[in-house]
Each structure stands twice: as C-alpha cells, then as structure tokens.
C-alpha cells in the first residue's frame, strides 16, 4: 500500500522581493514499511520536504496524498487532526515540554486526539516508552535525561498515536556517535515491526541504516536508490 504519494510538489517562499524555490517539483511514492533516508546538502530543501510531509506546511503547488487522503485540499483544523492521528514527528532538538515528566510528554498527543480508544492514555504512553526502552525513566523530567534518552522520549511521543508514518528531521544531529547508534537501533526495531520511517540526515553513515536513500539538491530529488542490504554498515 502507498502511504505517501507526492506529485510534482513545489514550495516557494517569498522573502521581501526575493523568491526562494525550496521545492522545485518533487514526486515521490513511499510504501508501507519502508525506511527512507533523505540526504542532501544544507539548503537543498530536506526540511521543507519534511514539513510538507508532516502537514506542518502546505505545498505551493502539487498533489500530496497520505494514506489516500488528499492533504492539499485540507484546512488548518484537518491538518492539525492529521498531524495528531497519522504523523509522528521527531526533531533534531527533541522539542519536549520542560518541567513535564517523560510519561506526560508522551501522553500529550493523546490529549489532543479526537477519537479515543478504550485503552487509557497512561497505558498507551507506558507501552510507547517501553518500545523505546525507557520504561524505567517515566517520571523523569527532560532536564534529568541525557540527549539520547530525551530523543527516545520524543520517539515514544511520535509513536503513541499509532501514526501512519514517523518523520525524523536530523534526529541524531545533536547526538554523539554512540547515542546515534542507540537511536538508529530503536528506529530499526520499529521498522522491523512494520512502522514506516522517513529520516533526514546528512551523514552517509546514518543514512546507510535505511533501506532506501533519497538525495536532494536545489529542491529536487537527484537520486533515489534502494540500499543493498549487504552494503549496510553493521553496528559493532
């Protein structure tokens, strides 16, 4: 099944008199269960693409379908609901609420959820933290956690609503190489469970953990290839 279908996406920013073409005709299809790395030089439009995919921003032109829903036609409310129920975002800077426990941070998307399941928020948040291996740090506040642990809380928060896709914009950009491997192994285990992942990175080592690598330049995709599993760097 196609989770994401992008057709000729353009994004134009106007800064004063200048126009910046951040995305210049991106077409892309991503299937369920894929693990995609997006690479490219700084300013090539990776974050802009992620923001469009994550429904934080809307394309200036082009079509975007998420699980068959036409996102390009949606209003602000609908976009918020899509972000809540279908998308999990992981940021470079973690973006956790300060002075709020890990558990409550993970619960947060559930509070804005418009369709509730029978399972309690607490239980869902606990099991999400369990999946990222942080069940023993649930009551810790972000300032009591290491960078890697904070990022794992953020991943749990992205997971908690069973999204169609998890988007991660340079998730390891603020982490050292050992912690980076921790996070990548979390991603791998999630992907092994069938979760679709898109991750932006400019490090080839990190990208090599994905199954498919897309390379961007000047707002277009210049390379899109499946990584041969044999070529994958194996963590020591």
């Amino acid at each position: 099944m196609d989770v994401i279908v992008l057709e000729n996406i353009h994004k134009v920013f106007r800064l004063g008199g200048e126009t910046v073409r951040a995305l210049n005709g991106v077409s892309l299809t991503i299937h369920k269960g894929e693990y995609v790395a997006v690479m490219g030089a700084s300013g090539s439009g990776k974050s802009t693409l992620m923001n469009v995919l994550g429904c934080l921003d809307q394309a200036s032109m082009g079509g975007y379908r998420l699980e068959g829903l036409c996102v390009t036609a949606m209003n602000k409310h609908q976009l918020a609901d899509v972000r809540n129920s279908k998308i999990g975002f992981v940021f470079q800077g973690f973006n956790l609420l300060p002075r709020t426990s890990a558990l409550e941070n993970v619960e947060l998307p559930l509070l804005y959820s418009r369709h509730s399941s029978g399972v309690s928020h607490r239980d869902k948040a606990r099991s999400a933290l369990d999946k990222v291996g942080l069940s023993d740090r649930m009551d810790h506040h972000p300032n009591q956690l290491s960078g890697g642990q904070q990022q794992r809380v953020a991943i749990a928060r992205a997971l908690v609503n069973d999204p169609a896709i998890i988007l991660a914009d340079e998730p390891t950009g603020n982490l050292d190489s050992k912690t980076t491997l921790d996070i990548l192994s979390v991603f791998k285990s999630l992907n092994d469970k069938g979760i679709t992942l898109i991750m932006v990175t400019h490090e080839p080592d990190v990208a090599s953990h994905a199954k498919r690598v897309i390379t961007m330049r000047d707002g277009i995709i210049i390379d899109d290839r499946n990584v041969d599993q044999k070529d994958r760097v194996v963590a020591p």
Binding site: N51, G54, L56, D57, K76, H77, A80, D81, R83, N84, S85, F89, F91, N95, L96, L97, R99, L108, P109, L111, Y112, S113, R157, N161
Partner: protein, 405 residues
Amino acid sequence: MKWQKLIKVAFQSILKNRMRSLLTMLGIIIGVASVIALVGLGQGSQADIEKQVSSMGTNLLIIHQGSSFSGGVRGGTGTQASLSMEDVAALREKPLTIQYVSPVIRLNEQVIAGKKNWNTAIEGVSQSYLNIRNYRLSRGSFFTPRDIKAKAKVAVLGKTVVDELFPGQDPVGTRIRIRNVPFVVVGVLGSKGQTAMGSDQDDVILVPDTTAFYRLSDGKAIRAIMVSAVSEDLMTDAEADVRKVLRHAHKLPEGEEDDFHVRSQTELISVASKVTGTLTALLSAIAGVSLLVGGIGIMNIMLVSVTERTREIGIRMAIGARGGDILIQFLIEAVILSLIGGIFGIMAGVGIAFGIGKATGTSVVVSTWVILATVIFTASVGVFFGFYPAKKASALNPIEALRYE
C-alpha cells in the same frame, strides 16, 4: 483536551511564576476588595437605616406645623400655624384609617435627681405613644389614662437618663425634679440605641402630654403629632384623612395651602437609600476602574507568557493541537489568574468591610449575590482581557513557533 488537564496546565504555568502571577493579580485583588468592602458597608448602613425606621414603626405618620415650603412667603392671615390639643382630639375621633394618635411636646430641660443632674429631652406624649414608637418597658409601668387626665407628675425614663442619674440603681418610685417640679419615676424604657443619624434615642424622659402642656411648656405649641395608620397598606389613605381633618380643624378654605405637613417613615427610607445608593455607585465606579487596570495587567502578562512559550505552542501544534485548543488553554489561564485574584479580593474585601464596620459601628452585609456577581465579573474580566493574547497564540504558525528561540 479535557478540562481537568487544561486547568492543571494553567495552574502549573501560574505557579511556575508565583511572584509574577501575584503581582499580576494585585490589580484585580485591589479592585474586587474595594468593591466588596464598599458594597458590604453600603448595604450594611442601608440595613441599619431600614431597621431604625422599622423600629420607629413603618405605619408612622409625623405631622409638623408649618408649610412644607418652609422659608417661603406664606399668604393669608388669621390662622395661627400651630398644632393644638384640639387637633389631637379631632384626629382621635374621626378617621377609621388611624389607630393611634399622640402629641409630642418636646422641651430640653435640666433634670435633677438627688445630687446629680442631666440635661435631656422631655417629651409630653399620650399613652398610645408606647404603641406608636414600639417602645418596651424594662421596668415599672407606663402612665395611665388617669395620670393623663389628672396631669399627674409621673415620668418614664430612657436608659441613658437612668445611667446618668441613677447609675446601678432602680429608679422606679424615686423622685426627680424637672423645672423644679417634682416628678415620680414610674417606669424605665427598654433601650432603642442610636438612630442612623447618631442621636441617642434613650436620652429621653416621657411625661403625660397634659402635664407637659400645662405644667412645663408655658403654653408652647405642640411640636409634632404622631399618628399610626391601622396598617401599612392604608398609609396613603391615613395621610389623606389626616390632611382632611386638620384642614377642617384649621378652617383652611379651598385652594389655601396646608399649614402643616405630614411625613412618613417610608419617605425617609427612600431618601436615605438614595443617598447611600449614589454613594455606593460612585465608589463602585472608582473600584471598577481599578478592575479595568487589573484586567489590562492580566492582558499584559498573558502577552508575555505567550511570547515566552512560543516554542511550547509550536510543539503542541506539531503534535496535533488545533488553534482552538491553544486558544482555550491560554484563555483558561487568564480566567484562572483573574478568578484567583477575585477570590483573594473577596476575602480581603470582606475582612476590610468587617474591620471598618467594627471601628465605626455600622453593620456590614455581604450578600451571596454580590459575591456571585463578583466571581462572574472577574471571570469575564479574564475572558475579555485574555482573549487577545490567546487569539494571538492560537494564530501562530507551527513551523515558526518551533524555530523560536
């Protein structure tokens, strides 16, 4: 988001900046405290006046001599503008709407008892005065119709007079001298306290009207006639009857003005309540201004809070909060801030009102509806002044908010 969660988040944010929150609330606290204190004292003194008037008797009519246009030039000659014992007799006889009639002959005299003396008001009244004024006797008895007929030299003392002339003693049966005329004390009046204007109602000696008229007053005119209507509903009828009888007795031709005027207690109430009402309204307006200033303070701090928490807003939006969710969150924070201020203000205001009430001897009435209205009003202040900052927060662009440092 659920209400409990929203309220919890609002409290967390308020408690995070305790000092700042308190200073922000100060305007509301001062405004609410002054409103509550003023209204409490205003309603209290209103109640005092009403109690006072009803202790005088709500069906009481007081007739004074002279035109109601006092000071105006009155035409006509011949008729002496004074009230007489004949007027009293005429009022007693005719109207069905009138229950009790008593003249009041009032003198100020030095009263001597043994070695002590005291300057007080002597009132010559009839026996029914007791009923008209709702007096109780704390000791002895009142004078009888026989005393009145005989112009008996008997007196009933008010409590203040007893305290001055007979401290710690029972005066019944002893003698006092008024204008060198010896009187026997037959009774003591129950205490009535002060009037709303502060005069002592217990500083009085009652004697039979005949005695006062013939033995003490040197033929001075009757100061007033007090009449009580059969019931409160018949006040207007009674007043009309009084006028008819007196005009007839004074032989006033058609078209001639009354040479007396009739006042009722309800009239006094409305005048008094008008005065306290305007005063309260005026002071409340001032208090309202400080509430306005308090509201602006809340708006200011909420704007600061929205700016400080831009990133938090971005995070919440990124994970699916709608603009409306953010709006409600900040609105609730503003309302809670304002409500807490309101509650502190109510407590302070009640305290101040009772403090001032105790110091000045006025009653304080804090009615539940005033508190309820204040709570609703402060909540509205929160909504009104919180709306703009909340709207601003809800309109933020999530990407820009997330990038905010």
